[in-house]
C-alpha cells in the first residue's frame, strides 16, 4: 500500500447520499435497520463473552455497511460464503437472531449443534455456507460453487467475503485464478479493515491497493468506500449483475475499519493508536446512513428509538432463550462425522456413555 494509503477511503465514484444509486427509501431503511440489529448483536455478544457466558466473540462493528450492503445485491437463491466477521449477512438473509445466539452459546438447538465456536454460522436454507476459521478457504469454495452453478445452467451467483489478511492466503490466489479461467459467476468481496489482528495492511502486501490484485487474474478490480452503504450496494450490484449475465467474476475491495478488537481475545491498544480509532469513529457507517436518511427528512428520533429498542429486545429475548436451552447431549459427539455411524464411532459412543469411560 505504498503509493495510495489504504486507510484513506475512496468511493467508487459514487457520491454518498445520491439517489442515483437506485436505492429506495424503504430499501435504505431496511439496510439501516439491519445494520442496527447487527450492531446490537455484536455489542451484546462482546458483553456476553466478558461476563463469561459465551466462550468467544468476533465483532463486526464498523463494517456493517460493507458486509450488509454487499449481501444486499444478491437474490435469495444466490449462495454466500462469509468469513467469521459478517453476522449481518445472516440477519439480512432472514436468519432469526435467536438462531445466531443459540450458535454463540453452542446450544444443541443451534444450527451448528454446538460443534463450532461462536460466529461460525451455517444456514443451509439461506445458502449461507458453514463458516470456518482457516483464513481464505471459502474463497476457492465459492469459485467451485459458482462453477457448479454454471455447469448446471443456473443463473445464480456466489459471493464470498474475506479480510485484507486473507489476500495473502493460498486460496485467495487459486480462487481468483480459477474464477478468471472459467469465468465463474462469483463476486469476491474483500473487507479491507486495515488490520489482520496486529498486522497493518501495508505490511500485509506491497501492492498499491488490494483491488489491483484482480489484474493478476484478468478480472475487474473495484475499490469502494466500505463505510458508505450506497457505494457498496452500487459496486456489488454491478459485479453481481455482470456475473449473472455471464460476464465473469469481480474483486471488490471495500475500505473500512474494524472499530473494535479483532476478537474478545484481543486488545487493540497494543498495536494501534487512539487517533486512528477516533478518525474512523467519525466515519461510523451507521451514523453516516442515519445522517443521510435524516437529511432526506426520512428519519426521526422516534424511529431511531424504535429501531434500537426493537434490536435490543430481539437480542434479549434470544439470549434468554439460549440460556435456557439445553447443551448438546454427549452422544451427539459421534453423529454427523459421516452420514452413517461407523463401528468405531459406535463403540466409542458406547464407551463414553458407560460410567467410568472407555
Amino acid at each position: 500500500m505504498t503509493t495510495e494509503p489504504v486507510l484513506q477511503a475512496k468511493t467508487a465514484g459514487v457520491p454518498p447520499g445520491e439517489a442515483s444509486t437506485g436505492l429506495s427509501l424503504a430499501e435504505l431503511k431496511h439496510l439501516y435497520r439491519t445494520m442496527v440489529r447487527t450492531r446490537a448483536l455484536d455489542e451484546r455478544g462482546m458483553n456476553l463473552q466478558r461476563q463469561g457466558r459465551i466462550a468467544f466473540y468476533v465483532p463486526s462493528t464498523g463494517q456493517e455497511a460493507a458486509h450488509i450492503g454487499s449481501a444486499f445485491a444478491l437474490r435469495a437463491d444466490d449462495w454466500v460464503f462469509p468469513s467469521y466477521r459478517e453476522p449481518g449477512i445472516a440477519l439480512l438473509r432472514g436468519a432469526p437472531v435467536r438462531e445466531l445466539v443459540l450458535q454463540l452459546y453452542g446450544r444443541d438447538l443451534g444450527r451448528t449443534r454446538g460443534r463450532q465456536m461462536p460466529n461460525h454460522f451455517a444456514f443451509a436454507d439461506l445458502h449461507l455456507v458453514s463458516i470456518s476459521s482457516p483464513i481464505g478457504t471459502q474463497i476457492v469454495q465459492a469459485t467451485g460453487c459458482a462453477m457448479a452453478m454454471r455447469a448446471r445452467g443456473r443463473d445464480q451467483v456466489a459471493m464470498t467475503w474475506f479480510g485484507d489478511g486473507a489476500t495473502s492466503s493460498n486460496d485467495f490466489h487459486v480462487g481468483l485464478n480459477f474464477a478468471g479461467v472459467y469465468r465463474a459467476p462469483v463476486v469476491f468481496f474483500c473487507q479491507n479493515n486495515g488490520w489482520a489482528i496486529t498486522l497493518p495492511v501495508d505490511r500485509q502486501t506491497a501492492s498499491t491497493t488490494l483491488a489491483v490484485k484482480a489484474k493478476a487474474y484478468g478480472l475487474p478490480g473495484v475499490r469502494v468506500d466500505g463505510n458508505d452503504v450506497r457505494a457498496v450496494v452500487t459496486a456489488a450490484r454491478d459485479a453481481v449483475d455482470r456475473a449473472r449475465a455471464g460476464g465473469g467474476p469481480t474483486l471488490i475491495e471495500a475500505v473500512t475499519y474494524r472499530m473494535g478488537p479483532h476478537s474478545t481475545s484481543d486488545d487493540p491498544r497494543r498495536y494501534r493508536t487512539e487517533a486512528e480509532c477516533e478518525t474512523w469513529a467519525r466515519r461510523d457507517p451507521l451514523e453516516r446512513l442515519r445522517h443521510d436518511l435524516e437529511g432526506q427528512g426520512a428519519w426521526t428520533q422516534a424511529q431511531e428509538d424504535e429501531v434500537r429498542a426493537a434490536a435490543r429486545d430481539e437480542v434479549n429475548t434470544a439470549v434468554a432463550e439460549a440460556e435456557a436451552a439445553p447443551s448438546p447431549d454427549p452422544r451427539d459427539l459421534f453423529e454427523e462425522v459421516y452420514a452413517e455411524l461407523p463401528w468405531n464411532l459406535e463403540e466409542q459412543r458406547r464407551g463414553l456413555l458407560r460410567p467410568g469411560g472407555e
Binding site: W79, F81, G110, R111, T112, R113, R115, Q116, H120, A122, F123, A124, V129, S130, S132, P134, T137, I139, V140, Q141, A142, T143, G144, C145, A146, M147, A148, M149, R150, A151, R152, A158, N170, D171, H173, V174, G175, N177, F178, V181, Y182, E335, E336, V337, Y338, A339, P342, W343, N344
Partner: protein
C-alpha cells in the same frame, strides 16, 4: 465380464458413473484433453463435454477447493491429483474443510466428493512420484480412505466412492495400473466400502495388506506354501471404514499377524492394524505382530527396489512368526 487392467477398470468406472449420474464431474491437471498422464480419464471429455470434464490450472488447493464448493452445491466431483505426492498444497482443504463440513455445520452441508490419486512406488519415480501417505488421511476423521488392488475392485470401489455421501480419498496403486489384470463386471458394479477381501485362506499366519502390497503378499504366501506354511492374505480395501471384524476373525484363526505396507513404518497405517489387534485379540496371538514396510526414509530413487517390501522380506517375517 471383460478382462481389463486396473487403469482400464478405473476408466470404466468413471464412464459408468458419469452416464448414470449427470451430477458427476471430473477434473484435474491434464485429465480432459489428454485423458490424464496415465490415461485413466481417456475419452471422458469426448463423451461428456467440457462442462463435466475439464483441465485445471496447476494448483491442488484449487482442484480440491473447487471440488468442495461443487459438492456443497450438489454435484458429485471426482477430482484427480496427478500424483499423491502433489496433494499437500491442497491438504488444508481436505483436512480442515472437506473432512469437517458435515460435522461442523450440524449436518446441514455435506461434501460428497472423491479425490483420486495414483500412489505408491514401482515406477522409478523417486521422492515425488512414489509416496504412499495414506496414514495422513486415515488419521483424519471425516474422510474415508479406499485402496483397490484388483481391476474389479477398482471399478466397484470407485463406483461406491462416487456414490458415497462423504468425502473419499481413492488411492490407485500406480504400479498395478497395467500389471494387474482381471475380470471386471460390465455395466454398473458397486463394491461396498468397509469390507475386506479374503484373498487366500490359510491357517498359520495372517498377512494384512492393501494396494500394490497385496500381490506381493500373494507371492509370499505361495512361497510359504512350498514350505508347508499356510498363509492367509487379507486385502483391507478400505482403511476407513475398516473391516475390523474380518481382521480379528482372521487373527483369531491363525494366531499370527504380519502387516505389510509401502509407506514408512513409523506411524504408518500398519501401526493401527497392529494396535487394534493388540487391543482386541491379544489372547489369540502366538507371536509378536510384525510389520514389513517401507523404511523410515524419504522414498528413494536408485534404491527403490531395496526400499519396497518384497516377497522375500514378507516371507522372512512369516517365518519368524511361525518359528516364534
Amino acid at each position: 465380464m471383460a478382462t481389463l487392467n486396473l487403469l482400464q477398470a478405473v476408466n470404466d468406472a468413471l464412464f459408468t458413473e458419469m452416464r448414470r449420474d449427470e451430477r458427476v464431474v471430473v477434473f484435474g491437471e491434464d485429465v480432459a484433453r489428454a485423458g490424464g498422464v496415465f490415461r485413466t480419464t481417456d475419452g471422458l471429455l469426448k463423451e461428456f463435454g467440457e462442462a463435466r470434464v475439464f483441465d485445471t490450472p496447476l494448483a491442488e488447493s484449487g482442484i480440491i477447493g473447487i471440488g468442495v464448493g461443487m459438492a456443497l452445491y450438489g454435484l458429485r466431483p471426482v477430482a484427480e491429483i496427478q500424483f499423491l505426492d502433489f496433494i499437500y498444497p491442497g491438504f488444508d482443504q481436505i483436512v480442515n474443510e472437506a473432512a469437517k463440513m458435515r460435522y461442523r455445520s450440524g449436518g446441514q452441508f455435506t461434501c460428497p466428493m472423491v479425490i483420486r490419486a495414483p500412489y505408491g512406488g514401482g515406477i522409478r519415480g523417486g521422492h515425488y512420484h512414489s509416496q504412499s501417505t495414506e496414514a495422513y488421511f486415515a488419521h483424519t476423521s471425516g474422510l474415508k480412505v479406499v485402496i483397490p488392488s484388483t481391476p474389479a475392485d477398482a471399478k466397484g470401489l470407485l463406483a461406491a466412492s462416487i456414490r458415497d455421501p462423504d468425502p473419499v480419498i481413492f488411492l490407485e496403486p500406480k504400479h498395478l495400473y497395467r500389471s494387474a489384470r482381471g475380470e471386471v463386471p460390465e455395466g454398473e458394479h458397486v463394491e461396498p466400502l468397509g469390507r475386506a477381501r479374503l484373498v487366500r485362506r490359510g491357517e498359520h499366519v495372517t498377512l494384512v495388506a492393501w494396494g500394490a502390497m497385496v500381490p506381493v503378499c500373494e507371492r509370499s504366501a505361495e512361497e510359504a506354501a512350498t514350505e508347508g506354511v499356510q498363509v492367509e492374505v487379507l486385502d483391507l480395501r478400505s482403511l476407513v471404514p475398516l473391516d475390523v471384524d474380518a481382521l480379528l476373525a482372521s487373527v483369531a484363526r491363525t494366531g499370527r499377524l504380519v502387516v505389510v505396507h509401502e509407506a514408512a513404518r513409523t506411524a504408518g497405517f500398519g501401526a493401527e492394524v497392529s494396535a487394534l489387534v493388540a487391543e482386541r485379540a491379544i489372547e489369540y496371538l502366538e507371536a509378536p505382530i510384525y510389520r514389513v514396510t517401507g523404511y523410515d526414509t524419504p522414498f528413494p530413487f536408485a534404491l527403490e527396489n531395496d526400499y519396497l517390501p518384497t516377497p522375500a522380506r514378507v516371507l522372512d517375517a512369516v517365518r519368524q512368526a511361525v518359528r516364534y
